[in-house]
Symmetry: C2
Subunit: 333 residues, 2 copies
Amino acid sequence: MNKQFKLIKRPLGEVQASDFEVSITEIPTAHEGELLIKTLYISMDPAMRGWMNDAKSYIEPVALGDVMRAGTVGKVIESKNPKYQTGDYVVSLNGVQEYAISNGKGLMKIDTRLAPLPVFLGTLGITGLTAYFGLLRIGQPQAGETVVVSGAAGAVGMVVGQIAKIKGCRVVGIAGGKDKCDFVVEELGFDACIDYKSQDVRKALKDYCPDGIDVYFDNVGGDILDAALSRLNRGARIPICGAISQYNQMQAVQGPKSYLSLLVNRARMEGFVVFDYAKDYISAIGEMAQWMQAGKLKSKEQVVEGIDNFVDTLGMLFEGKNTGKLVLKVAED
Amino acid sequence: MNKQFKLIKRPLGEVQASDFEVSITEIPTAHEGELLIKTLYISMDPAMRGWMNDAKSYIEPVALGDVMRAGTVGKVIESKNPKYQTGDYVVSLNGVQEYAISNGKGLMKIDTRLAPLPVFLGTLGITGLTAYFGLLRIGQPQAGETVVVSGAAGAVGMVVGQIAKIKGCRVVGIAGGKDKCDFVVEELGFDACIDYKSQDVRKALKDYCPDGIDVYFDNVGGDILDAALSRLNRGARIPICGAISQYNQMQAVQGPKSYLSLLVNRARMEGFVVFDYAKDYISAIGEMAQWMQAGKLKSKEQVVEGIDNFVDTLGMLFEGKNTGKLVLKVAED
């Protein structure tokens, strides 16, 4: 049978179990040109919260009654498509369900020699690509510059900081809690990390970025964005990747009160969406895989087991409970 | 004698007469290499409010006790500098006073055949240059795109809209009151103008920008910036020129609540300061003068007489009482 999480209510604030209906149906059948994929891992992403809202965005909202959208790693268990064979591993957007049919479009085959499967939802997947293109194309860091990244111990942030190090930058992370800060400094090699739960972020940015901020990669929005704006260098770049502090807001989003720092410092704040760079995914993943093999880019995944834990696991992102890429393990390979 | 307005208090909110001391001193004497300039017109600019604050900005604050900084058009009445002759007209930053000594640096000689003197503080001066570089370098409008400009009837906005028309764009202004809107549409040729005092700006932007906004040139900040953010096209550019709605704020600046539209639309918000383009001033003024001579670029100045009216005249900017470039006439030529 196929267990599916269908979105039946648009969440108000935090996502609740009652926003979903769990349905159990027959495992679908692959017709000519199609393949049947068994879900092994489901990606947990802050962006999923936005997909649940009925608002204009870079992607259609999930329709009420539809299986909740999510990135997945799965295994082809039946193929009537000549491009895929039984036993292939693929990344796709199969959503929160145990099995899915695909016509073969929008899939990416996984080279399992490169890394364990969950990594293809993280560092060698959409979150790693988000870090790669957001930092390199929008942030455009130059050797010797100071790069600050919020959500530093999260799936995107940890990759941003490491790529910035590879590019010769001074890298300061911002994360919640000593464990996360220790992780990015000691295990990933960031130059420093600010614990926003115990430190005054403005003061700490002054201390840890004595030469100011050239690139601030923002995953969180809110007060931390304001603090970073107040320390910009002339010509600074702020890639806007997300604003996790604001996604469950019931009231209006908190706008950056310090945005006129953009004027004073001739700086720019620019949004991006990783999907726009799809034609360059393969080469980017190739480069990141090389960095991993050379030991310059480390990956970390936090795996929670059981599709039944979907709602609580998603909630962990907004409570800051994950370190590294959070994935839900649905089935043994 | 030389009447001077010296800043003696940092204003809280609106500028008050008591923030200045009017001092009357001897007319200074030009020494070797110097020239004595008689002030004819003083430029009234929203940016002057920021210069009065003791805050890090793109230029040093005016020191307490110093003559208030301001752009000026003046006439050389005595020269001991070989580059200037008695009778030359020059633009400089001589401040709010009737006479000033200059060493010849930072002056720009005026070609009085091109336009009347006050125009060199406006369309062929710093405000025109601000419009020119902010729109063309930061906004990068393409023919056929929709350009929206706030403060549309102000010194910068009126030039922004006209240059955008020259570049083949659809141009929608936002201004306060029917007279200003009529001015930019009927006299300057904007395609439409939204009266923020009588219209719902969000709704009007929807009506007047059926194809969305590609460039939003912001002079005002606040709710109007938010309204424009909500109508951006993919890849839109927002040059941040100023935020006149916020300059007298006693509390924190109002940040743009809709800034995540930058993400959804892969758009960018970028600050700039006209002084950075100084090496290209001459060619820009040459181009704008040609447009003026061809009748494609019109200028408007609003002249108030008497240096004694300085504080009230400056206040007109923040009350939205000016149409076109506001200048204070200090002396007859």
